[in-house]
């Protein structure tokens, strides 16, 4: 087990190296004067010169890269001009909000999409199957920010069921003591049901928005994988051996069909982390995405680059976890002849 873990870790090293090189390039390819960009639009020539030396932009490129990597190793991503804080600290304090939102969206999507995909495959051509098709096609066609706005209009403005789309908690609720940074968990841990309900009300619409977005690829791949497995020879063997329908579907078909679904989760995470930025903007969600968007508008580049790098690192870790999960389901991993 430790051996597989190490092997997996080793395979992520090239990806990590690629991420670091690309993000370094992104900080250096800024057209015009990089120092002027980093100093911001209102900087004096002295300030720009100071930034130039600070960033080492007057040095040769390999040396700049070495310095970049060294800074990175210390967790130094530069300082935000807007907040005046180190980018790492800013990202760290805002990450739980984004993570909570993404996970809620993913959990909702999985809960609906997997059963829907399985049902559609089991009853090909039925009403469920058509519903699955519609969900899959509509889901990939809806711009995520547009879904969010539609939900706000219907559930906040028309029906009045949802609170105003302004962050994680409304002004009257008091945040629970921070343990995990996830408001839903922290409020439960503190036994504060009132805050839990308030936090739940706030996260419902943005979570739903992300779920609608992630639903389509998961439902589609579940249905396709299930259909492929149901037509496989070993399912025929299981049926010919008289195994019960439940055992054939669950133990034989579903477990095998989960393999491509788990693989697809990597792509789904890629989509979700991107969609998160848009959803956070729509719902004024105080996460890393809206942080990056605000910085972008203020031409404050260190936070943007830091955000891109942080998301890439997070995504690499998620992919590693997905690989490990895959290895748990599929005994063939690591035994390739």
């Amino acid at each position: 087990m430790l051996r597989t873990l190490l092997d997996r870790l080793a395979t992520t090293l090239p990806a990590l190296a690629g991420v670091v090189v690309v993000s370094f390039l992104l900080t250096r390819v800024l057209p015009g004067d990089t120092a002027a960009y980093f100093a911001g639009p209102a900087a004096t020539p002295q300030a720009i010169a100071q930034i130039r030396t600070e960033l080492g932009l007057d040095r040769p490129l390999p040396e700049q890269f070495a310095r970049y990597v060294a800074d990175l190793a210390r967790g130094d991503l530069g300082r935000s001009l807007t907040t005046g804080q180190p980018v790492t600290a800013d990202l760290g304090s805002r990450l739980p909000a984004s993570a909570e939102l993404t996970l809620v969206g993913l959990a909702l999507a999985l809960l609906v999409a997997v059963p829907l995909g399985v049902a559609a495959a089991l009853r090909q051509g039925s009403l469920v199957d058509h519903a699955c098709r519609i969900v899959a096609t509509a889901g990939v066609s809806l711009p995520v920010f547009f879904t969010g706005l539609l939900l706000v209009y219907v559930f906040y403005f028309v029906l009045g069921w949802a609170p105003a789309p302004l962050g994680r908690l409304d002004a009257f609720a008091s945040p629970p003591p921070t343990r995990t940074g996830f408001l839903l968990l922290d409020s439960l841990a503190a036994g504060d049901l009132e805050t839990f309900r308030a936090a739940l009300a706030q996260i419902a619409l943005p979570g739903l928005t992300l779920a609608v977005f992630a639903l389509a690829p998961i439902a589609r791949i579940t249905r396709a994988a299930m259909l492929a497995v149901l037509a496989a020879d070993f399912v025929r063997t299981a049926r010919a051996a008289g195994l019960s329908r439940r055992r054939v579907v669950v133990t034989y078909a579903l477990r095998n069909a989960m393999l491509p679904v788990v693989t697809t989760l990597g792509m789904v995470f890629s989509f979700l982390l991107g969609a998160n930025v848009l959803v956070e903007k729509v719902f004024a969600w105080p996460g890393v995405g809206s942080y990056a968007v605000e910085a972008l508008i203020a031409s404050d580049f260190a936070p943007v680059q830091g955000f891109v790098l942080a998301m890439a690192l997070l995504y690499t870790v998620l992919n590693l976890l997905i690989d490990l999960a895959y290895g748990l389901i599929d005994p063939r991993v690591g035994h390739a002849a």
Binding site: R3, L6, D7, A10, T11, Q124, A231, A232, D233, F234, R236, T237, A238, R239, A240, A241, G242, L243, S244, R245, R247, T251, Y252, R255, N256, L259, I329, D330, P331, R332, H335, A337
Partner: protein, 554 residues
């Protein structure tokens, strides 16, 4: 057959809903199987033999349905049985084993657990004794170290071993009837014999009835009591195995029987009665060899993991110091089971793959040193050509038959001018017996035999001296195989080429080749004149290969 049949299929009709409307895959079929009897259902592809068995088990896919007739299994009407009743019968009373055993097992579940699933389903075992019974089932199919193999996944077992597991699974609940659907197709001939001996041994011992579904009349006649021959969804003949070769009643059976390669017949004997064929002369091999291969080696380095720092292992030698010759006008068979290195050898001789060591001298010129990538423009390129195993896969789907045959003519500029190229294509088509009006069709509009003829026409177009035949008939039905083999013999006689015939099938090699080379694990085990090797094999391995060929009672 006066006994009350265990299984009685009467007037069975099975329909499939397709895009082109309803198709009857099985039409009014009658088959009966007595207790303890072994019945073979034989037919070529599309004969409906497998569909019949799926209908009995009621595991037809969604598009198929039983449209008429009755299926009776020891007094139970299987057509009227509920799905629950059928589930109880499947695996406990009637079992099935399939082609492609590795795919027939759940790839991510331990084989022991898969057997337990069946035992528990039919209440043959509880949680306490399931494991012991599963291991016992594995032992019965003669799997060594059964306790250890209980924990194996299918990918860790060989094809033959997987088929044993499938058999164990099918026989675990001691059913009365076993349906074996092409159980040995795709397996090596020695593995085929082991599997068939095991199945017949176990079923006879238990007094079980067996239905063997196969395309191989010889195999069926060897192992069955009675044979049912099917053609295009209909039963054309039912006869005892002992008489079917001696006195086939139906014309189709006769054709099928005749086309089956078997001891004591010549190539011409395979053709249907009345087919015009000139007698074949044995070519006299000239003195100087056309092709001389010596010390040929192909080695592949073993892969090491990134973190698993193993000591560098000796590279795997797929072909290991191979030497042989092919004389002008001679045809040499290269025979062996899968993985013996015969295909690697032919690919190197064809100069599509670079050898690690050794020399290939062709027409007096060393060509083994010319890199494969550069050989495309070599002067001798037109002189070595090949006929491929899968006729479908060897034709570009975007090219018509004429374009495919014309390709070598255009590239080698043997003929110039579009009229001349067309004329030569038509000439080649006539030579290989392809109707000229089919030349403008695309591969998907041609039958398997027609596609094989296109492939042969393309190979002989540049007037080669050596043609490598890589299992050219393996993907074809037996009656088509007979025609293609005869065509190849005729062409050789007419054009004076040499053949290097790569095959796993000694019977087929015998018909076409003057000399045979038997390979195993990259080396030559035995070589000599075909008749001598087949009648008095020297090597133990050759004897095993020969013994594994089914011997129908003639």
């Amino acid at each position: 057959m006066t006994a009350i049949p265990l299984l009685a299929i009467r007037d069975l009709t099975v329909e499939f809903a397709t895009r082109r409307g309803t198709v009857q895959a099985v039409r009014r079929v009658d088959v009966s199987v007595a207790k303890g009897e072994t019945v073979g259902i034989v037919g070529e592809s599309g004969s409906g033999k497998s569909v019949t068995s799926y209908a009995v088990m009621r595991i037809l896919d969604r598009a198929g349905r039983i449209a008429g007739g009755a299926v009776d299994f020891s007094g139970i009407d299987l057509r009227a049985a509920t799905e629950r009743q059928m589930r109880d019968l499947r695996g406990r009373e009637i079992s099935m084993i399939f082609q492609n055993p590795r795919a027939a097992l759940n790839p991510i579940r331990k084989v022991g657990h898969q057997i337990e699933d069946v035992l528990r389903q039919h209440a043959e075992a509880g949680s306490g004794d399931a494991k012991a019974k599963a291991i016992a089932a594995l032992e019965q199919v003669k799997i060594a170290r059964a306790t250890e193999r209980y924990h194996a996944y299918p990918f860790e077992l060989s094809g033959g071993m997987c088929q044993r597991v499938v058999i164990a699974l099918a026989l675990a609940c001691r059913p009365q009837l076993l349906i074996a659907d092409e159980p040995t197709t795709g397996l090596d001939v020695t593995t085929q014999k082991a599997v068939m001996d095991l199945v017949t041994g176990l079923t006879r011992e238990r007094g079980m009835a067996t239905v063997l579904i196969t395309h191989d009349l010889g195999l069926a006649a060897t192992y069955c009591d009675r044979i049912v021959v099917m053609e295009q969804g209909r039963v054309v003949e039912t006869a005892p195995a002992t008489t079917i070769f001696r006195a086939p009643a139906h014309a189709y059976t006769r054709k099928l029987m005749q086309a089956t390669p078997r001891p004591g017949v010549t190539l011409r004997d395979l053709l249907p009665e009345g087919a015009p064929a000139a007698p074949l002369e044995r070519a006299k091999a000239a003195g100087t060899p056309l092709l001389a291969v010596s010390g040929l080696v192909k080695a592949y380095p073993k892969k090491a993991g990134l973190l698993t720092r193993k000591a560098a292992e000796a590279p795997f030698r797929a072909v290991d110091s191979l030497s042989f010759t092919v004389a002008r006008g001679e045809s040499v068979g290269l025979v062996g089971e899968s993985g013996c290195g015969k295909s690697t050898t032919s690919t190197m001789v064809m100069r599509l793959l670079d050898p690690t060591e050794g020399s290939i001298v062709f027409a007096g010129e060393e060509i083994g040193r010319v890199p494969a990538a550069r050989f495309a423009r070599h002067r001798l390129r037109p002189k070595i050509q090949m006929v491929f195993q899968d006729p479908t896969e060897s034709l570009n789907p975007r090219w018509t038959a004429a374009r495919a045959i014309a390709d070598p003519l255009l590239r080698f500029r043997t003929v110039t001018g579009s009229d001349a190229v067309r004329a030569r294509c038509e000439e080649l088509a006539r030579l290989v017996g392809l109707p000229v009006d089919l030349l403008d069709r695309f591969p998907h509009q041609l039958s398997g035999g027609q596609k094989a003829r296109v492939g042969i026409a393309r190979a002989i177009a540049p007037a080669p001296d050596l043609v490598i035949l890589d299992e050219p008939t393996a993907a074809l039905d037996v009656s088509v195989q007979a025609l293609v083999l005869n065509l190849l013999a005729d062409l050789k006689q007419a054009l004076g080429m040499s053949y290097l015939f790569v095959s796993h099938d000694l019977q087929v090699v015998r018909l076409l080749c003057d000399r045979v080379i038997v390979m195993r694990a990259g080396r030559i085990v035995e070589e000599g004149p075909t008749a001598a090797v087949l009648s008095a094999p020297q090597a133990e391995y050759t004897r095993a290969l020969l013994a594994a060929i089914p011997r129908p009672p003639v």
